[in-house]
Amino acid sequence: MPVRIEKAFQVQQPIDKVWGLLSDPRNVAGCVPGAQITEAVDDRTFKGSVSVKVGPSVTNYKGDVHFERLDAAAHEMELVGRGQDVKGRGSASMKMTGRLRSLPDGGTEVETVAEVNVVGILAQFGGRVIHDVSDIMFGEFTKRFEQQLQQTAAPPAAAVAAEPAAAAPPAPEPEPVNAPAIFLKALRAAVARFFRRLFGGSH
């Protein structure tokens, strides 16, 4: 059940800075709601999991994210994430492409396209909601990415480490991951609140 979603937004940040974040695998992965990076296979491939909660229904996917393309010159990237339901009832994949355009005012336009494909029992019984759910999740992804761009203070990778129960990824590159514990706590709470709001208790 393939779904295609396009989102574009503008930020008051120079294109190179934006590209720095968009081309940072852990950062991008960290912006996917419910996602956890559990292991870095190489600097372009990561193992991880995504938890998708729709009302009373929760599905946990385990799989990997791979950056198919990182074109610094063109400011274009493409990543493919694939995961299988841990209960063996299907799989989900997402191909995401991102393209940056610098704006006359020095800002940057971020264009992203996600092609989500769900296979298995969710695609059989959840057909009527898959589009809306994908749209909401991808919307949240872009929102978080924007937030990352705003908060220059904390290095983006923090978000990755901040994910609940995420094993700290073996840093593939020198840049150390050390954000103050207090910040992590705050972010955790924020994420938890967000999920309650987004998918929380219904009878």
């Binding site: 059940m1 393939p2 299988q84 339901d85 209960k87 063996g88 009832r89 299907g90 799989s91 494909n117 769900v118 296979v119 298995g120 029992i121 695609a123 059989q124 019984f125 057909g127």
Partner: protein, 784 residues
């Protein structure tokens, strides 16, 4: 003409109330899931979530570790026993449990056995299967593309093409079509649908380690054939297998094939020495067991300007899914599809079918029809309407003009069938009369003038049912005869056993009426039994409307054998010669000597107490009937629909069904069958589709999306009949159970197209949904 018996005897033509009802209305029936045996355990199938994937590993440890789990069977286990694959009923093989790869979503991958249903369900989730997803093929039109993935790596031929089959004179047909002054063409898809009997498939397999006997309670329309197949596949001596089909909650063709779940339950019982129950869920039923249709068809009619049809050319692509499991016993890959010339007198015809594999559930079974005749009837009846539109003639007139005349029977069709009898115009005229056709057309014209949408759809189908004959039909070599054994007890009561198996058709009553008709024993005194292979004579089962044409005939023939012997006994008792005796239902009398007669009951008593010298004791007979030909029931259906322009919703205002199935055993039962078949036709025409998205996800694989009409969507049916007996059947009967499902889809679709014809619409594929209709209305600017 058949002698009318008294209501007490209740022979042919009486609307005898059904015997089977009494247990069913009290909840005292015995369906497979009602069978409970000591020590019984429960099986559940682990299924693939993917349509096409490599199996890298199956880990059963966690499942086995769950308390209450007794066994987890995988494809590798079956492979060791040589059971990983089983033969289908049509020259192919099918995986029982997948070993290397899966070929459709919901395919069987492992079988979990536990002490109860709940533990089995939990354990099924704990079986870890490591899949590597492969490219998926769902579009049959792309099956033979060079870049299409080869699905069946197990086959020699590295192609997704299964078969090419053609019949008729291609060259002559092409030429004739070329030269036809008028050509009409329709491209029609008969969508993938499913019989969906309300009871799903299942079994209880009980291998008795002490006796070495295997008893299988099975949702089977063909228990004897299934016993033989279990013997062949499982290598168990056939005398050590007993298949029992108890009460069956509807079949409609779905319960003809053998499914992996059955085999797994048997294997598990052999392994554990305990009875194993496996009952599939509805979703499993719709997603993995025998689907129907998925025929992508083109019909071209060549006709004269005056509307006389001359030539028919049919080309079809058949999507058989992952395995060719089309449960059909004819010699032809497309079954009886070549009856597609229908009720019309075509001079030349050619029909070709190509079958392909896709990543979809296997099947192509005969859903309430006789092996692809539904597809054929739908196609020709749609094509005739397209021709009528093109010629701007009334579809009823066009049909009347082209019917095979009643004096031309037996009729040899250009594609090789020999129609036994028919009077198509009679049925058509009766239907037009009941409908008040002229007034309806007048009303339609008035409505159209006011911008309202009303449609009248006609279908005058010819069915072809009653397989055998043996020269054309067999299952694994076993000829398609059927059988009856009758025993008349000393007190004049009787038991009759048949090789068929009722799934709601009322055999316990109707078959009793056949025997009552022939022997004059009251139907109340006759017990009818089916479905136990230890007691019933061998038969090929109930499907394709074959029960009455074959087993019913066998019943009459066996009864006649008994009557012949009864005549000898009567002659002895009456001290008269057989020539001087005359029969009336229930007794032999001496011609011209009032009062000198012996009732069948007196004769039965004598058969055990006062046996004529030189005659064997007892009054029994068995008969195996191989029909000389199929029977060809027919009829005309008229649908009247109103369309809500705002929503595209279609309301069937009236539906007139005139059926001709020759002589009728039980009018009440026949009418009930017609109501049911029409309702299934309604669902197919307007609501039902098992679809697959490009990833091979089943869409419409459960009762939330596979739409079964309720009492609210179902209209009140109007029925009528004509009677043209079959010349070759012992009492002139033809099968009828499937006519309404075969004939009605075209009537419904023709009605909707007729309502939109003035907008230039000539065809809409089924299911004809409100949104399809609305989109057309929008395109045509009828709605804003």
């Amino acid at each position: 003409m058949i002698a009318k018996t008294s209501p007490e005897i209740g022979g042919l033509g009486h609307s005898v109330k059904r015997k089977e009802d009494l247990r069913l209305i009290q909840g005292k029936g015995t369906f497979v899931d009602d069978v409970r045996l000591p020590e019984m355990v429960y099986g559940q199938v682990v299924r693939s979530p993917f349509a096409h994937a490599r199996i890298k590993n199956v880990n059963i440890e966690n499942a086995m570790a769950l308390p209450g789990v007794l066994a987890v069977i995988t494809g590798k286990d079956l492979e060791k026993a040589g059971l990983a694959w089983m033969p289908t009923l049509f020259h192919d093989k099918q995986m029982v449990l997948a070993v290397d790869k899966v070929l459709f979503q919901a395919q069987e991958v492992a079988f979990v056995v536990a002490e109860d249903r709940y533990t089995a369900a939990d354990a099924a989730e704990l079986v870890e299967v490591d899949y590597e997803e492969l490219p998926v093929l769902v579009d049959p039109h792309r099956a033979t593309d060079p870049d299409a993935p080869i699905l069946r790596e197990d086959r020699e031929e590295k192609t997704n093409h299964i078969f090419h089959w053609e019949v008729g004179d291609r060259k002559a047909t092409d030429q004739a079509l070329e030269q036809s002054p008028v050509k009409a063409r329709v491209d029609a898809v008969f969508q993938r649908c499913h019989p969906a009997p309300l009871e799903t498939c299942g079994c209880v397999a009980d291998f008795n380690t002490a006796t070495g006997r295997l008893t299988v309670w099975l949702t089977s329309q063909a228990p004897h054939a299934h016993r033989t197949l279990f013997a062949i596949v499982g290598g168990i001596p056939e005398n050590n297998i007993r298949v029992i089909s108890p009460d069956i909650g509807g079949g409609f063709g779905n319960k003809v094939p053998i499914y992996p779940g059955y085999v797994c339950a048997v294997v598990a019982s052999l392994k554990l020495g305990r009875p194993v129950k496996w009952i599939e869920t509805r979703s499993e039923n719709l997603q993995s067991t025998g689907f129907a249709r998925d025929y992508h068809m083109t019909a071209e009619i060549g006709a004269d300007r005056d509307g006389t049809v001359k030539t028919l050319r049919v080309k079809t692509l058949a999507d058989h899914g992952a395995f060719n499991a089309a449960a059909q016993p004819s010699k032809f890959p497309a079954g009886l599809f070549s009856v597609c010339t229908g009720s019309y007198d075509f001079k030349k015809a050619f029909c070709e079918v190509d079958g392909v594999y896709t990543n979809k559930a296997p099947g192509g079974i005969a859903y309430r029809c006789s092996f692809r005749v539904t597809e054929a009837a739908y196609l020709i009846e749609r094509a005739m309407d397209v021709l009528a539109l093109q010629l701007k003639v009334d579809p009823a007139e066009l049909r009347l003009k082209n019917f095979i005349p009643s004096d031309r029977f037996p009729y040899q069709s250009p594609l090789g069938w020999n129609y036994d009898s028919g009077d198509y115009a009679a049925a058509m005229n009766r239907a037009l009369e009941i409908a008040g056709y002229k007034e309806l057309r007048k009303e339609q014209a008035e409505k159209r003038a006011k911008g309202e949408l009303m449609g009248i759809g006609i279908s005058s189908f010819t069915e072809i049912v009653g397989a055998g004959p043996a020269h054309t039909f067999d299952i694994a070599g076993i000829k398609m005869f059927d059988s009856c054994e009758i025993r008349v007890h000393p007190t004049g009561k009787a038991i009759a056993r048949f090789g068929t198996k009722s799934q709601g058709q009322g055999h316990e009553t109707a078959f009793g009426q056949i025997v009552a008709q022939e022997l004059g024993i009251p139907v109340a005194d006759i017990t009818v039994e089916e479905g136990d292979t230890d007691t019933a004579p061998y038969g090929l089962g109930t499907y394709a409307s074959r029960s009455t044409p074959t087993a019913g005939a066998a019943g009459a023939m066996a009864a006649r054998k008994i009557r012949d012997k009864a005549k000898k006994i009567a002659a002895y008792l009456l001290e008269a010669s057989e020539e001087d005796l005359e029969w009336e239902p229930g007794k032999f009398s001496v011609k011209g000597v009032p009062g000198r007669s012996k009732t069948i009951q007196e004769i039965a008593f004598a058969a055990y107490t006062n046996i004529p010298p030189g005659l064997e004791a007892g009054l029994e007979a068995v008969h195996y009937y191989d029909p000389p030909n199929l029977t060809f029931p027919f009829g005309t259906y008229i649908a009247v629909v109103d369309i809500d322009k705002g929503t595209g919703e279609i309301k069937t205002r009236r539906f007139i069904a005139v059926d001709d199935c020759g002589n009728i055993i039980n009018p009440m039962i026949v009418e009930g069958q017609i109501h049911g078949g029409l309702t299934e036709g309604l669902g197919i025409a307007f609501m039902q589709l098992i679809d697959y998205d490009e990833s091979g996800n089943v869409q419409g694989g459960n009762f939330m999306d596979y739409l079964v009409p309720t009492a609210v969507e179902t209209p009140r049916w109007e029925t009528g009949k004509t009677c043209t007996p079959s010349p070759h059947h012992p009492f002139g009967a033809k099968g009828v159970g499937e006519s309404p499902n075969v004939g009605s889809p075209a009537a419904f679709v023709n009605a909707v197209v007729d309502a939109l014809a003035h907008l230039g619409v000539t065809h809409i594929d089924m299911p004809v949904t409100p949104w399809k209709v609305w989109q057309i209305l929008k395109q045509k600017g009828v709605v804003d």
